[in-house]
Amino acid sequence: MKETILLTKHMRDNPEDSHLIESYEKNNGYATARNTLLSSSPENILEEIKSSNIRGRGGAGFPTGVKWGFLAEDEDRYLVINADESEPGTFKDRILLERDPHQLIEGIIITCFSANIKEAFIYIRGEYAKPARRVQQAVEQAYEKGYLGKNIFGSEMDLDIVVHLGAGAYICGEETALLNSLEGRRGEPRLKPPYFPAVKGLYMKPTLVNNVETISSVPWIIEHGGEEYNKLGVEGSTGTRIFSLSGHVNNPGNYEIEMGSSFGEFVDTLGAGIRNNKKVKAYIPGGASAPWFRGDQLDIKMTIDDVANNNSMLGSGAVVMMDEDTNLVSAAKSIVSFFAHESCGQCTPCREGTTWLEMILDRIASGRGRTSDINLLLDVCDNISPGLSWPPKMTTICPLGPSAVSPITSLMNDFRDEVEDLIPTKVLL
């Protein structure tokens, strides 16, 4: 299995200075944006994006062309780049921001041309200070060259970009929470409907919110055509995608591949297998929110639909391998603690439920579990996401609460023995 290099080409060919505009331009950078602005039309660009069949790379996998098509008419419209990458296991936007910020800016220019947008924001999580500095430097370079500001490339188009730093809240990766945060409010998700960003987004104006990787793919798609992009990967999961591989693997890292291979092949070839030749006990196919797969399910294909058909999600493309020695209760506890910490507190099932789950799992993990705890765990999960089905039923405004249920249903469905073994049988209540 080999990587297919589109998005990471420039950074690989020019490792030492790929972040600078001189290097980017030497490799034909900004040529696509220039040609677009001078000789294409917004409709053509939208058609190319639609025919590429690219789906959003942030987690939900919504078709990007459809999203762009939803954008309501208004004099003021905004583009917001979601660079609040915080899903545990994910570090693919970080490399795109740090090492190829101009590709993102070129993608923003083309996107704004297509959607008739004059102001874009790049919302970068606060902990990504170094990536944010690189992006800010790139934005300043682009202004100096006249690629941002007034009459870009001598065309009629004006565009400003502001790089905005978040302040440590995972929930701001949820698009409506991100918009609240960008408006200087608490990062609490808004109700949909009526607050669909494409209609009532930033400042209640129509707003496109797209992931870094999605928009970084735009220059390639426009340069080579949507049809070419559509030929890569498989139907429903076209193009390439950067997967972040971590956990107990020999070669963790970001790998750009066409979707369609199996997780097992991915780990054995690019990941060079599991450390110390151990076996996989379980793995997370798409970030901490995703239900786990067992080690005997490594033949599942890495596509959005295959993973969904197996009751999980490809999510943000974060693959975390856990070997045979992993304490899965501790692993689940780490994930549940994460969601308990990151719950914004608006919805009771999530605010209270995640805290309860954390407390009960902590009790079990430290050997103080009660025999009633397993049913209690499932009961709390059922209150957050009734029926514990996948995709989850919601009792909350956003999917954060149900995400905390994922590791617990995985434990209970496939590794119940490990939980039961930790509960002292003498303590019967």
Binding site: M11, P15, E16, D17, S18, H19, D76, S86, P88, G89, T90, F91, R94, I95, E98, R99, G126, E127, Y128, A129, K130, A132, R133, Q136, E140, V162, V163, H164, L165, G166, A167, G168, A169, Y170, S181, E183, G184, R185, R186, G187, Y203, S244, L245, S246, G247, H248, P252, G253, N254, A288, A318, M322, T326, A331, S334, I335, S337, F338, H341, E342
Partner: protein, 204 residues
């Protein structure tokens, strides 16, 4: 108002970046963090006037986000990751050793105002787990021993600019990806080092 002219000028520059004043609230809170090492009541009152919202509204936003500290921090904010990829790569040992070295519990600052310790959620360094940040500059591929060595080094050298590449070279190991670009810019406070905030400098 007790922000000096220079800081106020910078605040006004930041406000101008946005279509609505209130959007500058986040960056202004980072600015306050860089000034005092926490969000002081004084800064809250200054910001509320600058943005045109009440002090309670500022406070309500400030307490929502974990990077705005409600109590003074030390010169170095040590943030060790405890999320899943780090957890299964022994971050608990790193946390334990750093806590022993500094004598600090979670979210505590030592008496001489040198270190603040916190165990944090995912910092996006999962391929280089376990990882930590010092003033939001990342070090990846840590061992418990190297984490201690890093703390000792901070104690001894007391650098005014914290540079990720320096720390990574001396105390780091496996990285999430090749950093490739050599970089000597870093953070100058416990707010993230970022040009717009003037909280970053290039180490000479």
């Amino acid at each position: 108002m007790s922000w000096d002219e220079k800081l106020l000028k910078q605040a006004k520059k930041i406000i101008k970046l946005y279509p609505q004043k209130r959007s500058a609230l986040g960056p202004l809170l980072h600015l306050a963090q860089s000034k005092d090492g926490y969000i002081s009541d004084d800064s809250i009152s200054v910001i509320s006037e600058l943005v045109g919202i009440t002090e309670v509204q500022v406070k309500s936003v400030s307490t929502f986000y974990s990077m705005y500290k409600q109590e003074p921090t030390g010169k170095y904010l040590l943030s060790v990751c405890k999320s899943i990829s780090c957890e299964i790569n022994n971050s608990s040992e790193v946390i334990k050793k750093v806590q022993e070295f500094t004598g600090l519990n979670n979210n505590e600052t030592d008496e001489d105002g040198f270190f603040t310790f916190e165990a944090v959620e995912c910092i996006g360094a999962c391929g280089g787990a376990p990882a930590m940040q010092v003033n939001y500059e990342t070090v990846e591929g840590l061992t418990a021993e190297n984490a201690i060595n890093l703390c000792s080094w901070l104690k001894e050298k007391q650098p005014d600019i914290v540079v990720a590449d320096d720390m990574q070279e001396d105390f780091g190991g496996v990285k999430s990806f090749d950093w490739a670009i050599s970089d000597s810019t870093g953070a100058t406070s416990t707010a993230p080092g970022f040009q717009t905030l003037k909280t970053t400098k290039v180490k000479k």
